[in-house]
């Protein structure tokens, strides 16, 4: 079934100086408090992180509910903001493929796809034997996913003790962590062009279209990076 040694190797990525636990914890604590504010109960808040586990989409959901958007509108807005998970999966899963592994592992573990787990997996998959890479990924995913759910509950329960300044402080941790990880990933020309281009185009296109900004910016900057970046190592 699952190779325990590589699974725990993946799980252990929560420890150490590159741990995603602090940023994940910070942003999901802030989310838990926000969901309480939006009228969610504890179970609903935990269920949101359990079943969605994608912070930008959960933020869109909470804010849409607060302004009274319809379910269809929420669905479309979330789909657009979380569509990034599609190219992210396609740029990671082929690296984890092995003929001896059953497909259900891939179909179920794609739920663990999030920015933090993706960045860790991209950073460390080479160290793992090809045959067990999917188990390594499941280990990373179980660690990051359960951290997110637990911290959402913690955030919900501690909402009354968190003032606005503390929440703002918690909310910056995630983008700072991701930026650092992305800068760490800029080891070749194409990834560097993709990261710089995306960072500039994302907010620029957002001025024209709030909903389609990510998709367009990703496609345009990514294609430019592909065309001009030459051979891609990762």
């Amino acid at each position: 079934m699952i190779n325990p040694k590589t699974f725990f190797q993946g799980l252990k990525s929560l420890k150490g100086s590159r741990s995603p636990a602090i940023p994940l914890g910070a942003c999901f604590i802030a989310l838990g408090a926000l969901l309480k504010d939006a009228g969610f109960n504890l179970q609903q808040s935990a269920a949101s992180s359990l079943f969605t586990y994608a912070l930008p989409g959960q933020l869109v959901m909470a804010e849409s509910l607060l302004v009274g958007a319809s379910i269809i509108n929420i669905f479309i807005a979330v789909w657009l903001v979380n569509f990034r998970l599609y190219p992210m999966t396609v740029s990671l899963f082929p690296l984890l493929e092995h003929k001896s592994q059953p497909k259900w592992k891939y179909y179920l573990s794609c739920h663990f796809l999030a920015v933090s787990s993706w960045l860790i997996a991209k950073d460390s998959y080479k160290k793992i034997d090809k045959k067990h890479r999917i188990d390594f990924w499941i280990g990373i995913g179980m660690g990051t996913w359960s951290t997110a759910i637990i911290m959402t509950v913690v955030g919900y329960l501690s909402a009354d003790y968190l003032n606005k300044d503390m929440l703002i402080g918690l909310a910056i941790v995630n983008p700072v962590y991701f930026f650092c990880m992305m800068i760490g990933a800029m080891k070749n020309l194409s990834v560097s062009i993709a990261v710089i281009g995306g960072t500039i185009l994302g907010p620029l296109i957002y001025l024209i279209s709030t909903e389609w900004a990510l998709l367009f910016a990703g496609l345009v900057a990514g294609t430019i990076a592909f065309l001009f970046g030459g051979k891609n190592g990762k």
Partner: protein, 108 residues
């Protein structure tokens, strides 16, 4: 304040909208070889989409972060990235400091 039923429907809609992209990605991955040009293109698009999201999170944030000044967010981000580089890519120190810096600067 949304009703309980509406919240449950919103959670289902959000989860489905999110899982579709992940699952489609897993299905597409079966046909994509690591050595192919398509894989390289997807890799570039993934990094740039992620960067676009991060750029937007800093410049046009959602949630509580929008109550802080853009200039302060940029100062915190740049300082923490510099710390990250100088601490030999330690991620714990800059991330903890970012929360402290922003909380303090936001009160000035």
């Amino acid at each position: 304040m949304a009703s309980s039923q509406l919240i449950i429907l919103a959670i289902i809609a959000t989860s489905l909208a999110t899982f579709i992209s992940r699952f489609m990605g897993a299905l597409t991955s079966e046909k994509v070889s690591v050595k192919s040009k398509v894989f390289q293109w997807f890799n570039c698009v993934a990094y740039s989409t992620l960067a676009a999201l991060l750029g937007r999170m800093i410049i046009f944030p959602a949630g509580v972060l929008s109550d802080s000044e853009l200039m302060i967010r940029l100062i915190v981000l740049i300082t923490c990235v510099v710390i990250f580089i100088f601490t030999k890519k330690n991620l714990v120190i800059p991330t903890i400091l970012s929360a402290i810096f922003l909380s303090i600067l936001n009160n000035f």
